[in-house]
């Protein structure tokens, strides 16, 4: 197994990445710009969504094109519970994880019956069904108008406080994801990615593990959705649309699915690009397309993945030189 897969034990580099990520995000508000706090918040939320997705794709090798369903359901859990006054935010946010997991338990068994592109198509189909229900059920979800003015608790009213709250929740989730990937359970998931048949031969119930991966991924996606609802105070069925599922795939590939922080990096880049390019031109689509093209051609393993390769190559180069110098 290549040692750059997410299952690799912590190298010095990854500890450095944790440190850099934490320091950078914790320092964002010190720049004194409210806009950066908003952007940082969005990057964290999308980063969590992407990292959860990567548990399924990068780690277990299942390309789901329907993660937006879990993300959206998480957002609607917070939106509905709060706007109907059923539960406070502190209850609603953890509830998103239960709802996201439960949805994955329902849809998962139906999707994992097939593999490869058929699995992908099924996840897309079911996600579109969930989207359709949210879009049309006016009496309950507000239909295409969505829900606005979600009442947040006083303690989280200021964007700054909410930012640090998000930061804490997201980094605890990252840590959990890391623990999952490193555990024996995570090793099985990676073995499924490498070769599902062989994994089956050694007595592993592959589908059960695949379902578990879907549930975990759904839990984190829903949590990200819940955090987003709390951040924007408005939610909308677009959050469940297939384009959102596509976006999270894009982010993960952009940053690199084989490196732990790749998806977070991808999320950061996409959010940043959308913001910057939208500001200067209405032709943002061509820019995003061009950047994607460049990345696929020049950074085939995602940004972090490719940088890792460069660093390794550079180090090995030095070693080879050393050995060569010996008599």
């Amino acid at each position: 197994m290549r040692d750059d897969k997410p299952g690799a034990k912590y190298g010095r580099d990854e500890w450095a990445q944790w440190g850099v990520a934490l320091v950078v995000f914790a320092a964002v508000p010190l720049l004194g710009k409210k806009h950066f706090v908003n952007m940082g918040n969005e990057i964290l939320v999308m980063g969590l969504f992407a990292m959860g997705f990567n548990l399924l794709y990068g780690v277990t090798g299942m390309l789901s094109f329907g993660q937006a369903a879990y993300y959206g359901v998480g957002a609607y859990t917070v939106g509905l519970l709060l706007s109907k006054g059923v539960a406070p935010f502190w209850v609603a946010l953890p509830a998103t994880m239960a709802v996201g997991g439960a949805l994955a338990l329902v849809l998962g068994p139906l999707c994992i019956r097939l593999s490869g592109v058929y699995f992908t198509m099924l996840t897309l189909a079911f996600a579109e069904m969930v989207w359709g229900i949210v879009f049309k059920w006016y009496d309950f979800t507000g239909g295409d108008n969505g829900i606005q003015g979600i009442p947040m608790p006083e303690a989280l009213h200021s964007p700054l406080r909410y930012y640090y709250f998000t930061l804490a929740v997201v980094f605890v989730s990252f840590w959990l994801i890391r623990r999952i990937v490193d555990s024996p359970f995570g090793a099985v998931l990676q073995s499924i990615r490498e070769n599902p048949e062989r994994t089956g031969f050694i007595g592993v119930k592959v589908r059960r593990y695949q379902l578990a991966a879907m549930v975990l991924s759904g839990v984190f996606a829903a949590l990200a959705g819940g955090l987003f609802a709390g951040y924007q105070h408005s939610i909308h069925p677009d959050m469940l649309h297939w384009t959102k599922s596509g976006e999270v795939i894009l982010m993960s590939i952009l940053g690199g699915v084989s490196s732990f922080f790749g998806p977070l990096m991808g999320a950061g880049i996409i959010v940043f690009i959308e913001d910057m390019i939208g500001k200067y031109t209405e032709f943002w689509e061509i820019w995003i397309g061009g950047i994607m093209l460049a990345i696929v051609i020049f950074f085939p393993r995602g940004l972090i993945g490719t940088f890792d390769t460069w660093i390794t190559r550079w180090r090995n180069h030095g070693k080879h030189a050393e050995t060569a110098a010996r008599p």
Binding site: K33, S234, D238, G278, K279, E285
Partner: protein
């Protein structure tokens, strides 16, 4: 030596940037900044691009006359992507980063509902120019929101008055896009018509999804139901697609076609230079050839001269939005005090291209909804706005006060939500 020279150049460049930056900052403090959001891509792109051009025309007109109270207007544009989450992000950036005095724009009602929330939280006035959902001025109303174009209720009320007098229209069929706009535009009309005519009957309804590519199954169903009139609540490309697909079935010979909110947009007339049937009953929020006033003619001519195309109806809404803001700032004497601005803006009365002789659009304090005249016409051969070969004519005009919900109705709607 060369190095020294380079150093000096760099220093000079830095100095220049600093000076220019400071100068710009000083100027920016003087300007009235409007943060505008319009969809510039996708199916609603035409509405957005026309809005942007018209807003720029209004801005240049005002600035050419010395601005407002000596302050120039500056508009920043950003694609809304017709996406609520993205638009919220842009609106927040406008407020925190660009320090805009006003938010303006938005074609989609869902985006409007999302942005009005940002406006309320930050106390930044939001001027809606082309989204029609009545909810924004009734149930979801907040004091920092104003709308300078008609809402669906106004179109529907005018449409009901129009239909009331046509005795042969008894059997109705409705087809529209399956989302709130499509349904609400119809339901308001049907409710209001029902109050005035007891002999009308709904023989069928169909709700294809928005941007549906194939209407054939619906068309055959409509034909077999044999209605007197077909109401559609399509807009934009959907209207065009439906008409094109219904033509081979001779649908328009067998029944009247009635689209009273967005159907009469120039976008349709322009898209079908050949084949557009005569006698379709249509309306829109602004018309190129009505009213026949100097102001309207000048607006249309100017737009054509600057962009090379005729404006779709959204353009006039954005034009009105900029003038509305300018008038508010002029009367309030400030662009920084939202509460003072609201107090004067809710009483603004001003003349717009779409106002006929002897009438001025005005804001209503109870719902911050502009009150305007509505005109419904029929397609008639007219080649004065090429490439269109049909324009609207045989106008029927509905007085502004007859087509707005009463204060009591608005209060009742708001109360019902609170419960």
């Amino acid at each position: 030596m060369r190095k020294e020279g380079r150093k000096r150049q760099v220093m000079l460049a830095i100095g220049l940037v600093l000076v220019l930056g400071l100068a710009e900052a000083a100027q920016a403090a003087e300007k009235i900044v409007i943060g505008a959001m319009y969809p510039m891509t996708g199916r609603a792109g035409r509405y957005g691009i026309d809005s942007v051009s018209a807003a720029e025309i209004a801005m240049n007109e005002i600035n050419a006359k010395g601005g407002v109270n000596g302050r120039m207007i500056d508009i920043i544009f950003n694609d809304s992507k017709a996406n609520p989450a993205y638009s919220i992000k842009v609106a927040k950036r406008y407020i925190t980063e660009d320090k805009v005095n006003f938010l303006m724009g938005v074609v989609s009602s869902a985006v409007g509902l999302a942005v009005t929330e940002v406006s309320k939280e930050n106390k930044v006035i939001f001027v809606g120019t082309d989204h029609a959902s009545t909810a924004l001025t009734t149930e979801k109303f907040q004091p920092y929101y104003f709308r300078v174009s008609n809402n669906t209720y106004q179109s529907a009320a005018a449409a009901a008055l129009y239909a009331k007098d046509i005795k042969p229209w008894k059997k109705y069929y409705v087809i529209g896009p399956d989302y709130e706009y499509g349904h609400r535009t119809w339901e308001d009309f049907w409710m209001l018509l029902g109050r005035q005519r007891k002999d009308v009957q709904l023989v069928g309804q169909a709700w294809p999804k928005l941007f549906e590519p194939d209407y054939t199954p619906y068309i055959t169903a409509i034909l077999s139901a044999k209605p007197d009139v077909l109401v559609t609540t399509f807009w934009g490309g959907d209207t065009v697609a439906f008409i094109k697909q219904a033509l081979p079935y001779k649908l328009f010979d067998k029944m009247k076609f009635y689209n009273y909110d967005g159907g009469g947009n120039y976008e349709l007339l322009e898209a079908m230079p050949t084949g557009l049937p005569k006698g379709l009953v249509l309306s829109a929020r602004h018309h190129l050839n009505w009213p026949d006033t100097k102001q309207n003619k000048e607006f249309v001519a100017k737009f054509k001269a600057q962009t090379g195309r005729y404006p779709s109806y959204a353009a006039e809404g954005a034009y009105a939005g900029v003038y509305f803001i300018a008038e508010g700032v002029r009367q309030a004497g400030t662009a920084e005090d939202p509460d003072k601005l609201v107090a004067v803006m809710e009483k603004i009365k001003f003349k717009l291209p779409e106002d006929p002789e002897g009438f001025m659009s005005y804001m209503r304090p109870i719902d911050h909804q502009i009150v305007q005249v509505q005109a419904i016409g029929e397609t008639v051969p007219d080649k004065s706005f090429p490439p269109a070969t049909m324009m609207l004519g045989n106008w029927k005009i509905f007085k502004a006060e007859e087509i707005i919900p009463s204060v009591a109705e608005i209060e009742a709607a708001r109360k019902a939500v609170k419960k």
